[in-house]
């Protein structure tokens, strides 16, 4: 009894540690005072100010657009890559997985500056395009990492059976293999989207002047002081995601209950 | 009778509100090869884990050599387990695996080395000291799991479906191996399996379990030839289980025909179940049989033919070296000694236990 109570307290403390800053930011979004240091009473004014702040709305739009497109492209390239890697010999597979892991294991700052150097020498104009290319690059490994185990589990004979029954390879793939790996593809997409959304370092090195995502906008605001509208925005995003996850987690459980 | 080594007294256990064992009582003797046999979910593995100390019973006592060990942790018990799927330590080589228990007990290096050699020799894997578990075949890993357990000189070896992951041929070889080991070591084996053939081959005593209850305890011969209820009869080998009426001592009416039998003491005109093994059904010319029927199925099984005979509304399963082709009219005869009479299940629990297979 004592043991489990101690365990619960420990887990509770760690989660307090992880979520305390989030609670703090949520509080700040309702703070009437402009400074972080003082509590000036409850207010919703930053929420209404937020929607009038064109810079922040533009940065939000950029962030979402990049996250959406980058993770989508990453999912397509990554999933096809998984199929290809899975069919390779052992050594080729090891090399491919090694390369795939580089952006994950390498320091973000190195990835950032290396891409920056690449774009400079190719004479690319820094802007949304360069950010997008960089994000796709570091999103692919997350897709591969979550799709690969699924692909390995797919029973090759199922695919062969589909061919045997007259399906073309493409049709066989989409009819029998794809449904099996779909959960992996979806979680890879979600993971890539989240990582892209939260990225600062690589965006910092590959963005052009005048183009901002939420992260880089916040970074430039650090010295002047963060606009409280930012707190309001991140509270909205966080709560939205929380609600979405709650809904998503709710529905499949009921379905499986019905099946049982 | 040999000395009782382990006594399970009124053991009950439930998981998530589901009763797995209900007031189970069992005595295990010294130097006995005892098999807990039953379908999955019958409570056999839970019973073994309670003896091993990995599960503590909700109620009841585990007595080992006269001492109550119910609350003793597994590391303090004088018995060792061979786990399903072996549970070898994959980060240690074979020698380290075998030495594990001895090192914990701080035995000398010489003693440990001797024991490793001895154990590897015993399981026919000499020279495997430096190999890693992953590089061994299933059968070899199984032997190492046994070696790792027996070097600790337990009084009892618990084996949890140890042959389940092996293929048929290897399984048969290992059965002989286990019997040899048990005889060489002279200790008690408690063996869990759902494979009736394994149980019949190796055991001194078989405990047939179903739904948390012991259905029958006995020698392989008794269990096979004199099943006490329909569940045991059905679970052990193929059999014809037929509703019947005991007319008087040594006379039973099966499907309306009168058969002589040897059982007495069931009273008169009482509903009973009879069990007749398929190899005990004799097919003869129609006029020579007690009842008459027609062969409906025929399969060649190598050692014998398997046939189904429709007679008086019952499909009789018959094993015979003589072939009767489909459509042949035959007579059925049974030697009185081969008719096993059983009481109908009395309680609802027993009924449920009998139906659920």
């Amino acid at each position: 009894m004592i043991k489990t109570t101690a365990q619960k307290i420990y887990v509770g403390l760690i989660f307090l540690f992880l979520y305390a800053p989030i609670l703090t930011l949520m509080m700040l979004s309702f703070n009437a005072s402009r400074t972080r240091a003082k509590w000036g009473g409850f207010s919703l004014k930053w929420y209404s100010a937020l929607f009038r702040n064109r810079e922040i709305m533009q940065a939000l739009w950029n962030t979402l657009l990049i996250a959406f497109v980058a993770s989508l492209v990453a999912v397509v390239i990554g999933t096809i890559a998984c199929i290809a890697i899975n069919r390779m010999g052992r050594r080729a597979r090891a090399v491919m997985m090694g390369i795939t892991n580089i952006p994950m294991l390498d320091a973000e700052i190195v990835t950032g500056i290396s891409l920056m150097l690449l774009f400079i020498s190719f004479g690319l104009k820094f802007g949304l395009g360069t950010i997008l290319l960089s994000h796709i690059t570091f999103c692919i490994p997350y897709v591969v990492l979550s799709v690969m185990p699924r692909i390995k589990q797919v029973d090759a004979s199922v695919y062969e059976a589909a061919l045997d029954l007259g399906a073309s390879p493409v049709k066989a793939f989409f009819k029998v293999v794809f449904p099996d790996i779909l959960p992996g593809v979806l979680s890879g997409y979600l993971m890539a989207f989240t990582i892209s959304l939260d990225d600062f370092i690589i965006t910092h090195f590959t963005k052009g002047a005048g183009v901002d995502t939420l992260s880089t906008k916040i970074y430039t605001e650090v010295k002047k002081g963060i606009k409280p509208e930012m707190y309001a925005l991140s509270t909205i995003i966080f709560v939205t995601v929380l609600l979405l996850l709650f809904l998503v987690n709710k529905t499949p459980q009921e379905k499986s209950k019905l099946q049982n | 009778m040999k000395k009782e080594l382990i006594n399970l007294i009124d053991i009950s256990k439930s998981f998530d509100g589901e009763l797995v064992l209900d007031e189970l009582n069992l005595s295990i003797h010294e130097n006995e090869f005892l098999t807990l046999l039953g379908p999955s979910g019958c409570g056999k593995t839970t019973t073994l884990r309670i003896i091993g100390g990995f599960v503590s019973p909700d109620k009841g006592q585990v007595v080992f050599d006269g001492q109550d060990i119910t609350s003793l942790p597994p590391n303090k018990r004088q018995l060792n387990t061979v786990f399903q799927k072996y549970a070898l330590f994959t980060h240690m080589d074979i020698a380290e695996n075998i030495a594990f228990g001895l090192k914990i007990k701080n035995k000398s290096k010489n003693y440990i080395d001797d024991k490793i050699k001895y154990a590897l020799k015993l399981v026919n894997l000499e020279g495997y000291e430096k190999r890693m578990p992953d590089s061994l075949s299933g059968g070899q890993q199984q032997r190492i799991a046994i070696a790792r357990a027996i070097v600790n000189e337990p009084k009892v070896l618990l084996l949890d479906e140890p042959l389940g992951a092996l293929d048929l041929k290897l399984r048969q070889d290992m059965q002989y191996e286990l019997i040899r080991l048990k005889n060489e070591l002279g200790i008690t084996f408690i063996y869990v399996t759902h494979d009736q053939e394994e149980a019949l081959t190796m055991s001194d005593t078989i405990v047939v379990m179903n739904q948390g209850y012991i259905q029958q305890i006995g020698s392989p011969e008794t269990i096979y030839n004199e099943p006490e209820n329909a569940f045991v009869a059905d679970f052990i080998g193929d059999s014809n289980i037929i509703d019947a009426i005991m007319l008087e001592d040594k006379l039973v009416s099966i499907l309306g025909a009168r058969f002589a039998c040897v059982d007495t003491g069931f009273g008169t005109n009482r509903p009973v179940d009879v069990v007749i093994r398929p190899e005990d059904v004799e097919l003869v010319k129609p006029e020579e049989g007690v009842i008459q029927g027609t062969v409906t199925h025929l399969i060649f099984k190598g050692v014998h033919y398997e046939m189904e005979v429709m007679a008086n509304g019952f499909e009789w399963l018959v094993h015979s070296t003589e072939m009767f082709s489909v459509g042949t009219d035959v007579g059925i005869r049974v030697n009185p000694f081969n008719i096993q009479i059983m009481n109908k299940p009395e309680s609802e629990d027993e009924e449920a236990a009998a139906i659920e297979t």
Binding site: A84, L105, A107, I113 | G52, P73
Partner: protein, 275 residues
């Protein structure tokens, strides 16, 4: 699936091309810039620059702080992972989710929130005052940077350890107990050795970003504390000396490479993956 050379090549082509252009070539460019001077001539100057007093100090501080935060992460994460693995939360994805969820609130904002919490008149000190305990004055010190690193990278330690713990066959643990090992012996001889791939993977996942960060030090360390990440970042964004910045990055990559090799040795089967 029957191997078919042509389709295989077609399938892997987009990926290979992408990896080559956006991973291999850029890394090559870092080496090119790092090993040349302004005029394109080969030089080791930019790499050797790490020995300069300022740079060496930044590197040592980075190593010290990232090692410290890795150790703290490990000490916090292992018990946590064990508790989580024992809880009957059958939903593995749920555990991952709890740790990924904070990422939906911007990483810079979350780290900045610690300023608010740690400030002289911040939330934590108010609580400490209420409890009649001495105030905490760690903002703008290396301790605050360590805290920021632990806060940001703890999930990367917990998840791989958790994953390797749930993979340990309960019967292997039972077998150790059966052979006479008590709980402590079982932990040190069986459970811990079996989870080393996860631990190594966790160490890699925490050590590299901690070693190379420039954001956490900037947000929580005030402007005085310079880590090697800050030095490199400034060379690129302010000083504009890409050659020096690349040279210093090469030094960093040596550490990272060392880390990758170690994790590859201990984690051959990819057991310690985060997901």
């Amino acid at each position: 699936m029957k191997p078919n050379k042509l389709t295989d090549r077609l399938l892997s082509a987009p990926y290979l091309l992408w990896e080559a252009i956006f991973i291999i070539v850029p890394l090559g460019m870092v080496f090119y810039y790092g090993l040349t001077d302004r005029f394109g001539a080969f030089t080791m100057e930019n790499v050797v620059a790490i020995m300069g007093a300022e740079h060496a100090k930044a590197l040592w501080l980075s190593i010290a702080l990232s090692l410290a935060s890795t150790v703290v992460c490990f000490l916090l994460a292992y018990p946590l992972a064990m508790i989580l693995a024992h809880m009957n939360v059958s939903q593995h994805s749920f555990i991952v989710l709890i740790f990924i969820l904070p990422m939906w609130m911007n990483f810079l904002l979350r780290t900045l929130a610690w300023q608010t919490l740690l400030e002289k008149n911040g939330v934590i000190n108010n609580i400490l005052e209420f409890l009649h305990m001495p105030p905490l004055a760690i903002i703008n010190t290396p301790a605050a940077i360590i805290l920021g690193m632990v806060y940001n990278f703890l999930p990367f330690m917990v998840l791989p350890i958790y994953n390797s713990l749930v993979k340990v066959d309960p019967n292997v643990v039972n077998a150790a107990r059966d052979l006479g090992a008590n709980e402590i012996q079982t932990f040190f001889k069986i459970i811990f050795p079996l989870t080393i791939p996860g631990v190594i993977s966790g160490i890699t996942m925490v050590f590299v970003p901690a070693l190379t960060t420039f954001v956490i030090s900037k947000l929580l360390g005030g402007s005085k504390i310079l880590l090697i990440g800050n030095v490199i970042e400034e060379e690129f964004t302010q000083a504009g000396n890409w050659h020096l910045g690349s040279g210093l990055s090469i030094v960093l990559m040596v550490f990272i490479l060392f880390n990758m090799v170690i994790s590859a040795i201990f984690d051959k089967n990819g057991e310690g993956n985060m997901l």
